[in-house]
Amino acid sequence: MNNYQVNEKGYYGDFGGAYIPEMMYPNIEELRLRYLEIINENSFKKEFEQLLKDYVGRPSPLYLAKRLSDKYGANIFLKREDLNHTGAHKINNTIGQILLAKRLGKRRIIAETGAGQHGVATATVCALMGMECVVYMGEIDIERQAPNVARMKMMGAEVRPARSGSKTLKDATNEAMRDWINNPVDTHYIIGSVVGPHPYPDMVARFQSVISAETRKQLLEKTGKETPDYALACVGGGSNAIGMFYHFLEDENVQLIAAEAAGKGVDSGHSAATSVLGKEGVLHGSRTILMQTDDGQVIEPYSISAGLDYPGIGPQHAFLHKIGRTKYVSITDEEAMQAGLLLTRLEGIIPAIESAHALAQLEKMSFAREDVVVVCLSGRGDKDLDNYMKYFNF
């Protein structure tokens, strides 16, 4: 059997590790030594599961999308992460990490955010737990995502603009790392995706793995079989995708498909298709695949979806890509927007533009009528209404 999970040194094959300055070492080392012990404690599990159930609203439904299934000639199920509290899968991770932070004795939380979904999910759990919260957000994203900024502020978080570099997600991440260097004792950094130095990618993956754990049970009830033929998800950093794939990795008959944002086209110079355009290197503390120049400078990606324009992918994705366990496909802005509209018109569900990238892949596949397909509907599209309206001139 293949091992798709992190090894004891913190690597997935050649990827992963902890490329951090010494100033971050004590915090990362504390996490590395304690995360498994803490998240395996009965009291932790109980509290985590209880909050996911009563506060987040899990299990999220697995919905057989009949009209979408008829269109594509397969049995298409949507894993409804969009129905979670705060509207996306991000909260699975922030609930887990805030419980962990409490057990580590931290009293201040920092986070980075791009579109604002992870920032909102972090601000939410900080309000819930009565912890101080600072969210770093690129100055440009603050302008683009005003409603999410307002939600964070209403929940008592301080939103600090990242003004360095390109003033977007990667720079917000840099600023959060700098904050942690300057506040090493009382602060926990809630990273929002399966990125960053070990143990973050594994820790976040474990918290998000609830998505595929539930999917297996729900599929068994609905189809009589625990595994689908295909599992699809979108990838920016890749946390909803890892969550969707996690418990299917060892079922080699399940085809795993990850949709990256091709933006205006993979070769347009305005893209975030990391697996195609990236090369191996180090970004935000882990060895992975990232978009960079020959000199090793990080290239700012582009996507219409603010949640997918990250210049790297998590190290586990880099590994799954390299060994071929998961297929990475590129979806353009246009394809994603059309898929978002299609789902809205066929099923009455407005998906986040991120999630629409996964849906768009359906159009490119051919199915047998009995095929079972699960698509991770990672978030709802309320936050994207402006974008949809402008795009389609409604």
Partner: protein, 261 residues
């Protein structure tokens, strides 16, 4: 013999000053001219930064200089081409400082080889993991005679400092406090205790304090416990002024004062 080693062995209680600047800032082709002025002004060794797009350990001043340097067209390959003339003009030790990704893209062996060819004596790459250096790169660094400098902080455990001491071949970079670069060092009991504690370990390698050293007072304070101190952001800030070339000698004099111990 490696110039770094020689410098510390022959220092005879002289307190040493190192200056950091980002290559390519304020102008692309300033590198050798700045190095020369600094050497002539009495600086004992140099750290030349190779810029990176995402410098997480750095505060706003060095972030800005890195961005500008990249806009000016600086790259690692270009820097090495500038440094071909280094040893025609500069006698003091020179280290390169930057982040791991540009070094990986250039190739670690190629990087060490280029350092050796141009006469760079050591490197400081804060985000290169210790285990990776030990397992993958140590032999290559030795082969080319390049010192790899590790950082320690107030939070670094004693066993880890001992291990770093074993792996180090030039000096140990003692980060003054919990901070990114460019925050002025406040002399607190905590800092003093950390400096004393580290000095008391009687390490094999010299101690060099960096981060937050901006003036004569912080330089003096650091040197009570260390062999040398590094000024980075305060110097890079000076470079944003139009007459920076004229100001360098008096800036260096101001930091050093009349340090005789």
């Amino acid at each position: 013999m490696n110039r770094i080693k020689q410098l510390f062995e022959n220092r005879n209680n002289r307190k040493l000053l190192s200056i950091y600047f980002t290559a390519g800032y304020p102008h692309l082709d300033d590198t050798l001219q700045l190095a020369k002025i600094l050497e002539d002004s009495g600086v004992d060794f140099l750290e030349i930064g190779f810029p990176y797009s995402d410098p997480v350990a750095d505060g706003p001043i060095i972030q800005y200089s890195s961005e500008e340097a990249l806009k000016n067209g600086m790259s690692l390959a270009y820097l090495f081409s500038q440094l071909k003339e280094l040893r025609k003009h500069i006698k003091i030790p020179v280290l390169l400082m930057g982040y791991v990704n540009p070094m990986l893209q250039y190739g670690v062996e190629h990087f060490c080889q280029s350092c050796a060819e141009v006469g760079v004596d050591g490197i400081i790459v804060p985000d290169m993991p210790m285990y990776e250096y030990e397992e993958l790169y140590q032999e290559t660094f030795k082969k080319y005679g390049i010192s790899n400098i590790f950082l320690i902080t107030p939070q670094t455990a004693v066993e880890r400092i001992r291990k770093i001491d074993d792996l180090s071949t030039g000096f140990i970079y003692m980060v003054s406090s919990y901070a990114t670069t460019g925050k002025n060092l406040t002399v607190s009991e905590e800092t003093t205790a950390y400096f004393k504690r580290t000095k008391g370990l009687n390490l094999k390698n010299p101690l060099v304090v960096g981060f937050g050293i901006a003036d004569h007072a912080s330089f003096e304070h650091a040197l009570q416990y260390a062999d040398a101190a590094i000024v980075g952001s305060a110097f890079v800030r000076l470079l944003s002024q139009s007459d920076y070339l004229q100001q360098i000698p008096s800036f260096i004099e101001g930091i050093k004062g009349d340090v005789v111990v």
